[in-house]
Amino acid sequence: MMTLSNINKSYKSAAGRESVLGGLDFQIDAGEYVAIMGSSGTGKSTLMNILGTLERPDCGEYLFRGKKIHRMSNRKLTLMRNKEIGFVFQNYQLIPNLSIYQNVMLPLEYHRKGFMKKRDRVRKALMMVGLEGKSRQKPQQLSGGQKQRVAIARAIVNEPSLLLADEPTGSLDEKTTESILKLFDHLHQRGVTIILITHDMEVAKRAERIMYLKGGLLKEHTYETSQSL
């Protein structure tokens, strides 16, 4: 599904350039459910941005379904992101002045499909997250759990092959967290590749693979790595 080789990323800071990812190698197969863990400031979000093609690495190779992402033009990357990748963010990232229906419709607006087909997809996505009756409401009228469900509906409305979730349960209570994780389980069963970034081990345990990000490198979960965290 995706292969990352020798990925490096650094940012400018007051003290000079600060390396976040240093020679990261990583491979995920299609349909896998992977959790990436790490302490704050270790570059989890940077990694997610690179995986989601929102940022380019300074150097290294990134292959996504055989395509060389690091050599793609911005226009092609945008198109690929729209078709292949769904995003779920910790703080939902819904547009407040659009209705739930319009928020979920958003990825389809940039996708050339007939109106009826688009409407059906939005209806199905909202049905899957159990919010079909809330389509006319605005995000601020919903609870945190409902907002995250809307974000998941928006992420899956384009039927992407990869779902990237950055701390999707970070601001939710236990019960709501469970319902969101069940949704991820359901999507995984349907063959969607899921990469979940979290600092919560209970959440990470739902994944097939757990990886740790430390010192700019990713390591598979073992007894030793879990002890060192």
Partner: protein, 451 residues
């Protein structure tokens, strides 16, 4: 396809920020309203003045005191300069002109401020100040006015220096007004006409100097026709009342007309203000002008007068109104530029406020071009909406003015509407570019982190 999508997104963006939209288009509304109203005023003034001057007839020649400079083509150019020497024109000059075969009519004009007094049957004396005009019976033709009642004085009355007078409707109404009020005091059940006036009518009266308009003018049975009035100590008989004419610049409402010979006698002056001459045909106007110049020149060897054709006067007026139009275009363009700067400021703030939204849209598949077009269309739509509202308000104002105010009508041609809407779209395009580029250039990952 991208255009349609961007347009749809722009509409949604505007719909989602209604309050900001109202605030941001306020400047454009005022700007376009100013374009519409000021253009309509400029064109209305031009139209009215041109019609008034044009109605004198193209065969008219005006003899006026002082020298008007001529341009390279030999035509009189009022804008180059007019010497301000006192008038030496006399009624003898008018009589000399009248002797010319190529002249159809001569209208001498003596204008000065004078007082007129009328004593009612109750013994109440009313004095009004007006424009004392000494002229001939052809005055009606020159000024294009007609009588409301009575008759105009004749040339014979002029030759005999009869004390006869024709009153402008405003003067007539003012003289009658006090007596009406006297009657009103006697009968308290009558309504006060002045009190019934709307605030804008009262304000307008202050500007135009009219205290009573045509509708409130007294009826025939309360007329002064046939009654005696006192002017400059002499007793005159009122023989007629002019119709109310409330137009820009030239109005006879405040005139007190009498034969020119009588006026010269009453005011103890010898000189006329100017002389209107009507040629018998337009074909040999230049020749007639020369003949008129020669006839007046007999008594003025030092040439302290000018003969000006109607076309030359119209040319001068047109030049002045063009200058007025350019000035108004400058003012309105400034207003639109200021409103455009306001829109740009609001849109830049909007891009900042909506940074996260831009990040979300980019993350979900919006291209740089789609974001650019969305924000550009938003600005254009805002300006267009402001333009349409300003246009409707301006149109409403013009309609109201033309229905309620009679000084001069406002003129709103289709090109002014096209100019107003076109300029608002142009402002949207120009002022929308910078915020749109700013939005389109945002990095999605940074935009999503924006607090």
């Amino acid at each position: 396809m991208k255009l349609v999508k961007a347009f749809k997104m722009a509409l949604l963006g505007i719909w989602g920020n209604k309050f900001r939209v109202i605030l941001s288009i306020f400047g454009v509304i005022i700007g376009v309203f100013a374009v519409i109203v000021l253009s309509a005023i400029a064109l209305g003034v031009k139209d009215t003045v041109m019609k008034q001057m044009g109605s004198l007839g193209a065969e008219q020649i005006m003899v006026m005191p002082g020298r008007v400079l001529k341009d390279d083509g030999g035509a009189h150019n009022f804008l180059s300069g007019v010497s301000s020497s006192p008038s030496t024109l006399t009624n003898t000059d008018a009589e000399e002109i009248g002797k010319l075969k190529s002249v159809e009519s001569v209208t001498p004009l003596l204008e000065t401020v004078g007082r007129i007094q009328y004593e009612s049957q109750f013994g109440e004396a009313r004095t009004v100040e007006g424009m004392l005009v000494g002229t001939s019976d052809s005055y009606q033709e020159v000024i294009h006015t007609s009588l409301e009642e009575g008759r105009f004085f004749t040339n014979d009355e002029g030759a005999n220096k009869d004390r006869v007078v024709v009153l402008g409707s405003g003067i007539h109404a003012s003289l009658m007004n006090q007596n009406q009020n006297q009657d009103l005091m006697d009968d308290e059940t009558e309504t006060n006409v002045e009190a019934e006036k709307k605030w804008w009518q009262k304000l307008l009266d202050k500007f135009t100097g009219n205290t009573v308009n045509a509708e409130e003018a007294p009826t025939a049975e309360e007329s002064l026709v046939g009654k005696e009035v006192i002017i400059q100590g002499d007793t005159f008989t009122v023989v007629g009342v002019l119709e109310s004419v409330a137009t820009l610049g030239m109005t006879s409402n405040s005139s007190i007309l009498m034969p020119v010979q009588t006026a010269l006698d009453v005011t103890s002056t010898e000189n006329l203000t100017n002389i209107y001459v009507k040629a018998d045909s337009i074909e040999n106007l230049d020749q007639v002008e020369k003949e008129v110049h020669g006839a007046v020149g007999l008594n003025h060897p030092e040439t302290d007068f000018s003969t000006v054709k109607q076309t030359e006067m119209l040319g001068a007026i047109e030049t002045v109104t063009k200058i007025l139009q350019v000035m108004l275009i400058g003012i309105t363009a400034t207003a639109l530029v200021i409103s455009g700067a306001g829109i740009m400021n609001v849109m830049v703030m909007s891009v900042r406020e909506r940074t996260r939204e831009i990040g979300i849209r980019k993350a979900l598949g919006a291209s740089t071009l789609e974001i650019l077009l969305q924000f550009l269309f938003e600005t254009i739509l805002l300006c267009l909406a402001g333009g349409i509202i300003g246009l409707l308000l301006g149109y409403g104002f013009v309609q109201w003015w033309n229905g309620a105010i009679t000084i001069f009508p406002l003129v709103l041609p289709i090109w002014v509407i096209q100019l107003a809407l076109g300029s608002s779209i142009l402002i949207g395009c120009i002022c929308g570019i910078y915020p749109a580029i700013k939005a389109a250039r945002l990095q999605p990952s940074r935009a999503l982190r924006f607090e």
